[in-house]
């Protein structure tokens, strides 16, 4: 026993190795993400150069060479010669400073501008409340009805000592928000009915829903808006007339309803069959099954795509420009019709674009966060 020798393998003599490259810290990060090879380095340098050039050019145009205000002469006409002398090397933000009230609120009576401003704040508050998960139940319905009524009272006035403002004078951001929000508020219940109808066993109802959805999705929104503006008056009995904004609103509701119906249908399809069968086994009626079992689960899964669809409608409301309704984009386009401000389209579109960007970016970030949160249970 004792003469057993343990053969330990000879440890090879190692040459001294250099210390490993840093694996942490900003230098290591840059080596891994910006300069990982000669191609990557070249791309980084080219991109970096282009970014610096673009940013410097933009800063020059938007801030350093920009003109923020111009004098107004005795007749109230802006003297824009200083802006024209820039020849495009600098932005003329004076058009925004001068015209921002018009772009935001259109031809609404000037001294009453606090009312549409309050309406915009109410809309934003409504979105924020709807986005909070603790309100995802029936309390949302009275909140929406209450807020939308308040918005109607503020815009029209005529009660509580508010002077009456006819709808023709509304304009700007409130119109955009009204078209998008009322569109969603009415299109959403419609879309649930259509989605349920499309999955129904009753052939006549199914055919009607399929025809509606496919017809609307096959044509551009513009054709529906044209229909609302030129054909709608023919549909109604003589003497009865509804105003242009309402007609456009109906077109947007019909349009949004078809697209939302497809989103809701995807949610209905994503539910396992067992949920339907279990509800049937409990002896629930169709509406009980739908209301208590199916919709609460199906709608929850489709909230992120619903928000994305809503972003789409929010942008698409700008199409009412083509039939001459005074939304944010139309107001922006009209602001530069005035001879003094002609040729400053870029500045106006940048300003209007920023407003759209703020709304859409907030909603898309929210939707992405929500999606990650709702799929938490699927993550491993």
């Amino acid at each position: 026993m004792s003469d057993i020798t343990v053969n330990t393998p000879a440890i090879p003599a190692q040459s001294a190795r250099s210390a490993p490259l840093t694996a942490v810290g900003p230098i290591a990060w840059m080596r891994a993400n910006l300069f990982s090879g000669w191609l990557s380095t070249a791309v980084t340098l080219v991109c970096g150069y282009l970014i610096i050039r673009a940013v410097m050019g933009f800063v020059d145009w938007a801030f350093i060479n920009a003109i923020w205000s111009v004098p107004v002469d005795g007749r109230g006409i802006a003297q824009t010669q200083a802006c024209r002398d820039l020849h495009g090397t600098g932005a003329c933000w004076a058009v925004v400073t001068e015209k921002h009230r018009f772009m935001l609120f259109g031809t609404y009576p000037y001294e009453q501008h606090w009312r549409p401003a309050l309406v915009c704040i109410l809309f934003v508050a409504l979105y924020i409340v709807s986005a909070m998960r603790r309100f995802w139940n029936w309390t949302l319905v009275p909140i929406w009805i209450g807020t939308l009524t308040a918005i109607g009272i503020l815009m029209w006035g005529g009660v509580f000592g508010l002077p009456y403002v006819p709808q023709e004078r509304w304009g700007g951001l409130p119109i955009t928000l009204i078209l998008a929000t009322f569109g969603l508020a009415f299109a959403f219940p419609l879309s649930i009915l259509v989605a349920l109808g499309r999955r129904s066993n009753l052939p006549a109802i199914k055919v009607l829903c399929v025809v509606y959805v496919e017809l609307i999705r096959g044509v551009p929104l513009i054709s529906l808006l044209f229909m609302a503006s030129v054909m709608f008056p023919l549909f109604l009995p003589e003497g009865m007339n509804i105003d242009k904004l309402l007609r456009a609103q109906i077109a947007i509701i019909l349009f949004a309803g078809a697209y939302l119906a497809e989103v809701v249908r995807a949610g209905l399809q994503s539910l396992p069959k067992g949920q339907y069968e279990a509800a049937d086994a409990m002896g629930l009626s169709y509406w009980q099954k739908t209301g208590f079992i199916i919709l609460p689960q199906a709608l929850r899964t489709v909230i992120p795509p619903l928000v994305n669809t809503f972003i789409g409608f929010f942008k698409d409301t700008s199409l009412v420009l083509i039939i001459g309704i005074f939304d944010l984009l139309t107001a922006g386009k009209t602001a530069i019709v005035e001879p003094a401000w002609q040729g400053f389209g870029i500045e106006v579109y940048v300003f209007v674009g920023l407003i759209y960007l703020v709304f859409c970016f907030a909603m898309s970030k929210y939707s992405a966060g929500l999606e990650a949160d709702l799929n938490k249970h699927r993550r491993r």
């Binding site: 970014i51 551009p220 984009l329 040729g343 389209g345 870029i346 209007v352 759209y356 960007l357």
Partner: protein, 400 residues
């Protein structure tokens, strides 16, 4: 074979129960509901229809499509087929349809290329490249397309006039009249070369099929690319040479206040095309990214373990799986681009919506005008989705 395992009792249909005239019978309830809904919608449509007929009579608006044969008298700036204001409305509308198709086809091709590049760039390991792509996608998708079109159109109008036109390359002029490019004077030799090119593609496809059949037979891979180059590039050049090799270029040049010669891309078309392509590319980039991410890393590793080269892995393993995820949303993006091309009316490019709109203003026949717009778009949408569904079915996963 599998039928033998199925319990024969399940293959029998359940006996049909006779209808019981009672509210508790599900089928009776179904019939009652359907009759009610159809009657309700039918009566609403009937009511709208009778109002319309009455209103048309009162306002003395003509009906029917007879106006299509009348002289249009509306000028159209650019058209693919010969057109004159003295032509009929039908021809004017045909010009509009072709203009829509022109911008849609070019737009779809360019948006696919740009979108794929941006989608791949967003997955790049290079931080700067992926950030730029992400920034592009975020910004472009959060701005209304109409705003972007107006923006591009404003930029186009802000370009210098023809006399001070930008001239970046010899023969290319960029001014507020559009983009002027040199163009060859078309002769029959060019048509023949184009036909030879198409024939070359068909022959290459046949050759590749034969090569694959031989490879299946004996296991030896065969090179296709030498034959492909000879057929697709060599054959048209040969044809062109045989027919006398005509090559006369029509250079644009400033004559008076405008350009003569060459080919022109109008500022309206350019603004519409740039707007549609950059906007749709933002959406396509996301589709491509999702498609590539959907192929798991194990597929790459397994393919490499089999000894396939990088290109073969991409072509044979990864792309077929990614395409399966990419095709359906890509279809809806193509449809969206085509429908969005209707925004042309806002910047004055004369597509079908713009021309039909002018037509209905001139004739007063609103219903017919809008019916034409809708019919055209329904036909285009249906054709695109039929084609893409066919393509999707071809590449779909074939399960047992």
């Amino acid at each position: 074979m599998s039928d033998a395992t199925v319990d024969p009792r399940f293959r029998r249909k359940p006996p049909r129960r006779p209808l019981r005239l009672s509210w508790s019978d599900e089928r009776v309830r179904g019939i009652v509901w359907q009759v009610l809904v159809v009657a309700l919608i039918g009566s609403v449509i009937w009511w709208l229809w009778s109002n319309t007929v009455h209103n048309l009579e009162v306002r003395r608006i003509a009906t029917g499509f007879g106006f299509l044969q009348r002289e249009a008298g509306l000028p159209i700036a650019e058209s693919l087929i010969p057109y004159d204001p003295t032509d009929t409305y039908l021809r004017a509308l045909a010009v509009g349809v072709l203009n829509t198709l022109k911008v849609a086809v070019v737009g779809i091709v360019l948006a696919t290329i740009l979108g794929t590049i941006i989608g791949v760039a967003r997955l790049s390991k290079n931080f700067l490249v992926s950030r730029i792509a992400a920034f592009y996608v975020e910004v472009i998708r959060d701005l209304p397309l109409l705003l972007q079109l107006l923006f591009w159109y404003t930029i186009m109008q802000g370009l210098p006039g023809p006399r001070q036109a930008l001239n970046p390359v010899e023969g290319v002029f960029l001014s507020n009249r559009g983009l002027k490019l040199p163009w060859i004077i078309w002769e029959s030799a060019h048509t023949a070369a184009l036909l030879a090119f198409v024939a070359g593609i068909v022959l290459t496809w046949l050759y590749a099929r034969a090569a694959r059949a031989k490879q299946y037979a004996d296991g030896q891979p065969r090179r296709v690319w030498p034959a492909a180059i000879a057929l697709i590039i060599g054959l048209p050049i040969l044809t062109w040479q045989v027919m006398g090799a005509p090559w006369e270029v029509d250079w644009p040049a400033l004559r008076g206040f405008n350009f003569r010669g060459g080919t022109n891309m109008s500022p309206e078309f350019a603004a519409l095309l740039i707007g549609l392509v950059t906007y749709t590319a933002g959406f396509i980039a996301e589709v491509v990214r999702a498609g590539i991410l959907s192929v798991s890393h194990g597929q790459w590793e397994a393919a490499q373990a089999l000894g396939l080269r990088h290109g073969s892995v991409l072509r044979l393993i990864v792309m077929p799986q990614a395409l399966r995820v990419i095709i359906p949303p890509m279809t809806s993006n193509y449809l969206n681009l085509t429908k969005n091309s209707s925004l042309a009316v806002a910047i004055g490019y004369q597509d079908i919506v713009s021309i039909a709109n002018t037509t209905l203003n001139q004739t007063g026949q609103a219903i017919e005008g809008i019916a034409i717009i809708m019919l055209v778009y329904l036909t285009i949408s249906l054709s695109i989705s039929l084609f893409m569904n066919w393509y999707n079915a071809r590449i779909a996963l074939v399960e047992r």
